[in-house]
């Protein structure tokens, strides 16, 4: 199924980008080559402002910003062009034009006619906006994947070291024994004294406490232990999927990120979501485990079938 999700994300993305670019080109959304009229009181090579009314902008681009007040932007003049400095009030279309031309903060426009108090300007040709954004995304997200992975090396090594201490001293086993009744029910295929149980408990505990930096390394350690018990290389075992769903459910007593952002934005009661998100994530986790247990018996997902197909592919 991951295959289909992957194809869908890529194909829908590319098609949506291309069709939106074709639509923009056919309606000339960015008014390439058309003269835009701005007013100025004083403008020089060092300082000045240009202005226009929202009404004029709406009419020119056939959009609806609402309101009829005047927008003023700082601007400087050179021999044949004007450089407009963009700010928080910048209309979306201008931001896009500026971004496509190379800078988010300023917009260079060529002056076609200069009369007393008025400039008629033409903005840089803007086309294939979405397609370019998709190309940028490919490059930046590939790098992001590597950045994330490399950043993981240190914490990963640290927690693997701590876990090894726990294994060698027998602490992980003790923890596993305490949780045995619950874990044996959720993971019936895993022997109760296997290190995988200890690692999974550590991961779930880290998640519950909102310790994201520790949870991922501990979770990956648990996956490695589960893989040791997995007879079908390359194919997920029942226990792996169940464990994964527990992780994607995101059950936590302390939703640290959400609370931190709420506090930063000046909430009167940042922790009000403790209970509600525990409820939501709790339901999600229960539903996920139940779904995993039911789906693993359905024909297309049965381990024998998938593993056999994988084997046939490898030959």
């Amino acid at each position: 199924m991951l295959n289909y999700v992957w194809i869908a994300l890529v194909a829908i993305g590319v098609i949506a980008a291309a069709s939106s670019d074709i639509y923009d080109a056919s309606t000339n959304r960015y008014r390439n080559g058309e003269w835009f009229e701005v007013r100025y009181d004083s403008i020089s090579a060092e300082a000045g402002t240009v202005s226009f009314t929202k009404e004029y902008f709406d009419h020119f681009y056939d959009v609806n910003m609402g309101g009829s007040d005047t927008l003023v932007f700082p601007a400087t003049l050179s021999s044949d062009s004007v450089r407009i400095t963009l700010g928080a009030e910048t209309p979306e279309i201008w931001t896009t034009i500026a971004k496509t031309a190379g800078s988010e903060k300023r917009l260079d426009a060529v002056i076609r006619r200069h009369t007393d108090g008025y400039l008629f300007v033409v903005f840089p040709i803007t086309s294939l906006v979405r397609t370019k954004a998709v190309l940028d995304a490919v490059i930046s997200y590939s790098s992001l994947a590597v950045t994330i992975s490399l950043a993981l090396i240190g914490v990963m090594a640290f927690w693997l070291g701590i876990m090894k201490l726990g294994e060698d001293s027998g602490l992980i086993n003790i923890i596993a024994r305490v949780m045995k009744p619950v874990m044996a029910r959720i993971f019936p295929e895993i022997p109760p004294d296997h290190p995988a149980i200890g690692a999974m408990i550590m991961n779930i505990a880290a998640n519950m406490l909102g310790l994201n930096n520790a949870a991922t390394p501990l979770g990956l350690k648990a996956m490695e232990e589960l893989e040791k018990l997995n007879p079908n290389k390359g194919t997920a075992s029942n226990a792996m999927v169940t464990f994964l769903v527990i992780n994607t459910g995101g059950l936590t007593i302390i939703p640290a990120t959400a609370i931190a952002i709420r506090a930063a934005l000046g909430s009167k009661d940042p922790t009000v979501i403790l209970m509600t998100s525990f409820f939501g994530a709790g339901l999600a986790t229960i539903a996920g485990i139940a779904a995993a247990k039911i789906l693993q018996r359905l024909k297309p997902y049965r381990i024998e079938k998938v593993a056999k197909a994988a084997e046939a592919e490898n030959k």
Partner: protein, 178 residues
């Protein structure tokens, strides 16, 4: 009071875990330094192993987000959201949450800035954020670490959990804050 306790737990948990593990190992006469280093050796390998899986997943999600297809999806799903009484402002959150961790964090911040942190929408959107994890990221990283590409029912079960989590968040917020 509860807030302080939770903060104390999340700050103290890691030092306490580390201290507990080291102390117990010392008591059991485990060669602590040696044992730690032996375990830590695996860190590099695991991190590097997940790179191809993470590249595949993040690039697909990146293409999808950059293309503007999200907006189309939001438009397509808004009648459904209306039907179950979900405010249209938080619908993008429900869609983005399983796909992108940083993306949904930015979206949550944005929505709370616009509608207020303590408004119904503000509470709902942060509850939704806290009610799920970034399913596809977890999927890529966890399976990537052990070279698993036949994921069987993991995507289906994960998405069911996500949908239930979002609906659960909506339900509890409606009961308590609406």
């Amino acid at each position: 009071m509860i807030k302080e306790i939770f903060e104390a737990i999340s700050v103290l948990a890691i030092p306490l875990i580390i201290l507990g593990f080291v102390a117990f190992a010392t008591k059991k006469k485990v060669p602590v330094y040696e044992s730690f280093v032996t375990g830590a050796k695996g860190g590099f390998e695991v991190a590097v192993k997940i790179i191809p899986y993470l590249v595949a997943m993040l690039v697909a999600i990146g293409i999808f987000r950059a293309s503007g297809a999200m907006d189309l999806l939001v438009k397509g799903l808004s009648p459904l959201a209306h039907l179950i009484g979900m405010p249209p402002q938080v619908l993008p959150m429900a869609i983005l949450r399983p796909l992108s961790g940083s993306g949904s964090m930015g979206l949550m911040t944005d929505i709370m800035k616009r509608y207020g942190t303590d408004s119904f929408i503000g509470v709902l959107v942060s509850t939704m954020y806290g009610s799920s994890e970034t399913t596809f990221y977890v999927l890529a990283v966890y399976f990537g670490a052990v070279n698993i590409y036949k994921t069987r029912h993991a995507v289906a079960a994960g998405l069911i959990a996500d949908v239930v989590g979002m609906l659960g968040a909506l339900l509890i917020c409606k009961i308590l804050f609406h």
